[in-house]
Subunit: 319 residues, 2 copies
Amino acid sequence: MSRISSRDLLPRVLKGDVAAIARLLSRAEAADPECRETLGEVYARAGKAHVIGITGVPGSGKSTMVSVLARRLRGAGHKVGIIAIDPSSPYSGGSIMGDRIRMSELAGDEGVYIRSMATRGALGGMARATLDSVDILDVAGFDYILIETVGVGQDEVEIASASHTTLVVSAPGLGDEIQAIKAGILEIADIHVVSKSDRPDARSTISDLKQMLALGISLDSSAAWRPPVVATSSMKGEGFEELVSALEKHRAFLRDSEAGRARARKIAEFRMLKTAEDLLRIRFKEHSASRVRATADRLMSREIDPYVAGEQLIEGIGA
Amino acid sequence: MSRISSRDLLPRVLKGDVAAIARLLSRAEAADPECRETLGEVYARAGKAHVIGITGVPGSGKSTMVSVLARRLRGAGHKVGIIAIDPSSPYSGGSIMGDRIRMSELAGDEGVYIRSMATRGALGGMARATLDSVDILDVAGFDYILIETVGVGQDEVEIASASHTTLVVSAPGLGDEIQAIKAGILEIADIHVVSKSDRPDARSTISDLKQMLALGISLDSSAAWRPPVVATSSMKGEGFEELVSALEKHRAFLRDSEAGRARARKIAEFRMLKTAEDLLRIRFKEHSASRVRATADRLMSREIDPYVAGEQLIEGIGA
């Protein structure tokens, strides 16, 4: 089978052809230079979907919550794309557990598209690849695009923030280290979700969270949006109407508002920087192997320091 | 109090003056341009310490294991520096729990220096800041430098790999999501540590791990180093002699060998790339605000695509 060019894939992607979407996503993830121009066209056409970043500590029940949320949005007639950043390995093939479970639940519905990205060690940065993938699903006609990341790790948290609405998922009964990590991601939330609300200890998790947030609010009373706390039970299917309504409220809050424009600018700046970083990384690996090697050798022997080596890398590439 | 220049701090750092070390570390973390030249000098002098990257999933007992290991190395007469990458927040001040516990255990010993980095959202990348910090502790006379990261997140795992010896810590009795994450980081290990070996379910964790590794070995029988599995109990203080001996073996394996040179080159290349990325990020934030803003606006309005914006960022900076 001859390889179809990305340019020729695009019309099929625009019609929502699943096989074409999958191919273009793979090329975008791999940072294939052949698809770059097409991704530019995709970007020019994108911007209709509402992008929801979802993060939370391991064990918070994110993946299950996301699949229930996707079903609800689907039930309301929306097409839903899910991009799950999978922390597992590209070497070992990865064990994409959450995804497998969801695949079976949501399988056979053309209005739901799930993509798992096991990007560790991949050529091309995760943030750049994720945002390019969001665009592809956007132009393919998905109304809501959910980006799910494990909320530990600088990149992962940044990616969840590079969305229109960011959900941070908490859950009762997690360990100390997990709780400390959780504290670090709360401030990126537009909406807090406490999952597993069917558990008896959920009530205290919710009130602790509200108390913490109340402290924050008193410090910044000028904020126009106060992140609500929504309790959900994926097992019982409870709380999702409230969650969807909170999502709609936040979406309305951003629409044609200064807050919305500020958010869009923040995302554009993040994207510009991440794409530049990625271009640097790609060229580092592809185009100037001997030059990179020579500079690395001088760095190894401590003839030059990392800042000089870094400058040389940027200059050599920018020139 | 007038501000001491980084150049003037250096002689005190070289003597191991704790206050001077702390100051230079803060400047390095903040990517303060004033200290860059001094960091270059630091780099030129560094390279004596053995750097150990330690990672593992949340709940694996890393932090406690690291503090027991530090005491053992200390007991053998070595000076030990610890850099803990803290996933908590710079906004909320962070809850540096593990660190607080350790501080009390290791406090008052001048031969141990602990630095917690809560770098999320900080100016300057985590990897660059960590490796600059390693150099500072190196020239300050620390023999072993332990870098501890939570092994979830692309950056965090990369940082743990950018060391001479990488330990991956596992533990019995973790949840499914955590286990999936764990599977993704096993291949970076030079030494596997199963902590909490006093737990009754530790035996099966150890045998599962050995089985997994045996599968990997059969695929790559040419590997000159086979990562051993060491069981430790921080509570009972067991297994640490074996762990220190495994560390020494790995250190000897790298010494004056092709494997050691390959490792050093890999670290140098990683460092060059991360420093370049960081320079890009710093300049993005500091020097060309109006230009960045104009490009971001054009990106927002979809006049240009992210690749064009990224190229402009690199070119504008490299020129």
